[in-house]
Symmetry: C3
Subunit: 467 residues, 3 copies
């Protein structure tokens, strides 16, 4: 490297002992905790035949596995390929995008099985897990993937693991408050996953503010093929989002409805994204950043309402609005957030998850408040909002109020948690890169040294590369 | 650009106001029409509990969602990733391939829900949608994606949206004639999707003939990595085609059988494609164009017959033939179509969808005509061809005749519709590119300016790129 | 080519008549054999309505299609996209990796339907196929894809087809011995697929040893984007592995349990892979080869035990160990295998499938031997190990012994079969490439001649490529 060395170069990004230590210790901890706590749910246990008789089920197809496994696999693809490849848009951070996402998600789902298990599936001292727990663990990690988008390219793998540990913990607490204490509906996680994940990540990146990040600006863009890799992520997120929002809804009509609403919202979102991407640019050309991200905002924004009677046209309206809000955010808000508020948001998660998540929470609150027995049917009404037991007398408008409270709680948890975790990640022991080495795989990965052009030339030795 | 400017350069490809206007107006129209017409089907509506009692269903698993949702998601992937990435083979049109496919499909599925809804799911003034409607909407858009293949790289996004509007409309009319008036079986759409889509697209590209397209010939090829991206599309189409052909078949054996037949046909098709790709080339080397496309012809060609008792060996024979027909088409027919008939078919859809679609229609007609109660069983026979109501007395040979009529109708609709739509697209108001700027993302997309080589060099500043 | 020509250059790699001949003849043979033998299983046959009554099924959802089709599609993706793209890591062998994998798998599934059909689904002179047969055929081909990994880049497509023919045959025999004669459980194929496939492939590559392969060493590495393409393969294998290990397990709890165990094992495996990848490298950087491969070892190693009561923490332990074993294998064992034993293992299948497969067999034997009626329940115990009929009195420890015997049989079949097939492939008639042309698509594929850089320069004619 001929370039002058900045003070940042002194940073120690050597991972050899630190990263293995964290990975191995934490995995051992997982094994011990799983050994003590985690067992199969009755539907996955070999005693299932007895259980079937107890539950009066006549067929194996009634096993929850067959209701949810296809959706689970779609969600699984969204977390690992969807988020992983969406973030490969940077020209030289593809390994980090896919690889670190892989690492944090693989750890996160284990820790989420435990955290969510203690809160929701704890019976007689054991966490009983089935396919729904796997989906919920993936969901929880989804919020970490969202936050990862804000700090992409600026953190070490150890920082990401530390953030995952804390964020999964806080996610589970927040989720418990919303779902159990406030009795809020949020099947697709507009509040618990997206709002919480986004504002958590934005707070973390604010605390980790790098004033000299412009030293890496040349690497903070895409190249032609990295934009195509990112589109793999975009499309898998977009296509499977109906599965995401319906994965843990009630069996039957609720799952069915959630998928349809999400499908509609996403379709509308693509058109307004394209419209505003072209409109907000002098030359009228489309911008891949918008297509890769803002087209997904419609899925985020029906995360709460999709399983309700939002109706297809209601979903179109939500998608319509979110495509606009998100694209406008990329063009006007992201630069302001960086220059004024010192929030460096690599993937623009504020536009894709933050604002649409808030809209999703509000849409959910309004849809709940507007619910009537006429629209839902008597049984459907009770089933949709689980107005049973101590919630038997709750009215739609009260439910709407609690839904709104859920947004506020998620935001507060995100800000407080993000500030705490940001402070921890600022400690100079985690091996993050210097400002000039951000967005660069070379720091943490063995990058193949051969250039592609070498190979091309091999075939045409007489043909120089320059014109 | 130092190169001499051709008269074509004067073409106005500025999208800034036109594209947003079309997108926004049309999306608003969708919202209004959905608001007036579209509601949930009983299986997706919150009144489902009541419906369940009415239909005597004992379990939520009987909801159509669980019969069809996994297939729906596979079809969804085929439309957006399959078709989208299949068309990324061009060296500098990857954004357009994936992005415009995304745009037209997202609009098309909404319009298809309406058009097909009016024809097939209209009850008491409302279109009632469930998962089967989503699949059908994807199918309808599939025929637009096919047509897009013929004009790939030569049209503006507005032209694509206009074509989608008309083609979806015509598709729905054609489908209504075939399925309802002729009472034809076509679950995988050999006729309605592939034959119609291909000859529609070929007629459009004929009308839009560009005599000076050779000015863009240098961009009408692939590079190494663009061919790999295209293989992502190919493989997802290939793998999920069994889901495509079985997605809307009758519950039970018909879905099961359609998947098996398609699986067999596709497997055979790969071998004959490879054989002829090597055989028809002097050096005996395999050509990626054939592997990317002709391997799929077997799926197209069992689109009508797959749910019938075509049998596995019958499917192998169909696949065997189609791999040959399609590959031979790429080598000998496509150049002739261009030079003699002035049909410029960018992706060779005539070889992948046109001829195999016709074969599929014929195979379906023969299979139907050959059906016997012995082979199908008494109940199976009636169920397979829906010989109930006013069709109670129809015989297999008559059914075969109507199937054949379905091919002719589809062709006529394609030619007439394509001519009409081609004429509309020829109007000089849609912003298509000059001949020398075809197959080039730069016209409609912000393309990253940095070269990859810059980044590579950063790591080896002393190493020049030229040998 | 200016480079001096080695004697190897004389090798005749001309495929024009040989490859088509093999493909066409074999496909015709498939058609004839399918015509004679293959029919639909009752659940895919049009007589299904009658069958339903016979089996006392009240709903179409009881058709095996709905129990297994989603898993089938996941497995299908693993074979074609998973294995195909995993092997695209080589800088100039992407076409061969994806394309030849496509070819051999498409042939292999047909031959596997026959071979496995004769052994397992043969009734009254006919092989009756349903969705479970399709899964099993994909499984069988999976073992060929494993073996392909060892000889990647060094064999002609004809050699691959010949190997597939023999390996599928031997696979079916070995599977019959294990499942039917030894009455061994191996739902995810640790023994039948991975152990057999890996040691078969390693024996073949040993027989085909190329002492002068270092002449191609410059092409035996990756470039930046080829590593990202490979990650597509890795992630799809990783995400869908729970479907793989559960795809043919018993309906209900066994499928459910197998998916959960595999999910856990794979998650743990990622962390130990990352830990050891960093630890075993002086600079402490992560190596893409490990991330692409060793992260999958956890799936291989629960292939036998996943459907048993291995428990989630048991699975974590297996994944923990296998991430380490596999990564250590890549760093220390692979070079030794090449230098000492002359085993040139392109993809390191010994580390990903060989050792983890053996571990999987052992884990399965131990888990079976440790089974008690207490843990499984009385019915569950019998169902899990199929202790019925002539196996009514078999005890867990005896079962464990037979499981262990299954490992030995698989190894012996692999070595003997690999030696035989290797000897056949060594005949100088199959058109394999010279040592200096290995890992090079140019030999068997039309490779696009245009360089990417040409295109880039087109946009910036004044900007030279060198700095």
């Amino acid at each position: 490297m001929e370039r002058p060395r900045h003070q940042g170069m002194a940073k120690n990004t050597y991972m050899r002992w630190r990263l293995p230590l964290v990975c191995l210790l934490w995995e051992v901890a997982m094994i011990v905790l799983f050994g003590v706590f985690v067992r199969f749910s009755p539907e996955a246990d070999a005693h299932w035949e007895e259980e079937k008789r107890k539950m009066n089920l006549t067929s194996d197809i009634e096993n929850d596995f067959y209701f949810r496994y296809p959706s689970f696999q779609d969600v699984h693809v969204m977390i690992f390929v969807g988020f992983g490849f969406l973030m490969t848009f940077l020209k030289r951070y593809g390994f980090g995008a896919v690889g670190f996402n892989f690492l944090l998600a693989a750890f996160g789902i284990q820790w989420a099985l435990l955290m969510q298990g203690w809160f929701h599936s704890f019976q007689n001292g054991k966490i009983l897990i089935g396919v729904e727990n796997l989906i919920n663990a993936d969901f929880c990690v989804g919020s970490v993937c969202v936050a990862f988008g804000a700090i992409l390219g600026k953190t070490s793998p150890i920082q990401l693991l530390v953030m995952t540990l804390f964020q999964v913990t806080l996610f589970a607490v927040n989720e418990y408050i919303l779902l159990n204490l406030l009795h809020v509906k949020d099947a697709g996680g507009s509040m618990t996953i997206h709002t919480f994940g986004a504002y958590f990540g934005l707070t973390v990146t604010r605390v980790l503010y790098r004033p000299n990040l412009e030293q890496s600006k040349d690497k903070e863009g895409s190249v032609y093929h990295s934009d195509l890799f990112a589109m793999i992520g975009t499309l898998y997120l977009w296509m499977y989002w109906p599965s995401f929002n319906s994965a843990i809804s009630e069996h039957g009509d609720a799952q069915h409805r959630a998928a349809i609403n999400t499908y509609c919202s996403l379709a509308a979102c693509v058109l307004t994204t394209m419209a505003f991407s072209s409109m907000l640019q002098k030359k009228g050309k489309l911008d891949m950043v918008h297509i890769q991200n803002a087209t997904l905002a419609g899925g985020v924004a029906v995360g709460t309402g999709a399983e309700m009677m939002l109706t297809p046209y209601g979903s179109l309206i939500v998608g319509f609005i979110c495509g606009i809000v998100s694209t406008v955010g990329y063009v006007y808000l992201t630069p302001v957030l960086e220059s004024r508020l010192h929030i460096q948001d690599t993937c623009g998660i504020h536009n894709l998850h933050g604002m649409p998540g808030l809209i999703g929470g509000i849409v959910g609150a309004i849809t709940a408040a507007a619910a009537t027995q006429d629209v839902y049917g008597k049984e459907g009404f009770i089933k949709a909002f689980d107005f049973t037991g101590s919630y038997k007398t709750r009215t739609p408008s009260v439910q709407g109020g609690f839904q709104a409270a859920g947004i506020v709680v998620s935001l507060l948890m995100a800000f407080a948690g993000g500030a705490l975790v940001g402070a921890i990640l600022k400690l100079p022991i985690w091996g993050d890169a210097a400002d000039e080495n951000c967005f660069e795989d070379d720091i943490y990965w063995e990058v193949p040294e051969d250039e592609e052009s070498d190979v091309y030339h091999m075939h045409n030795p007489d043909k120089p590369a320059s014109p």
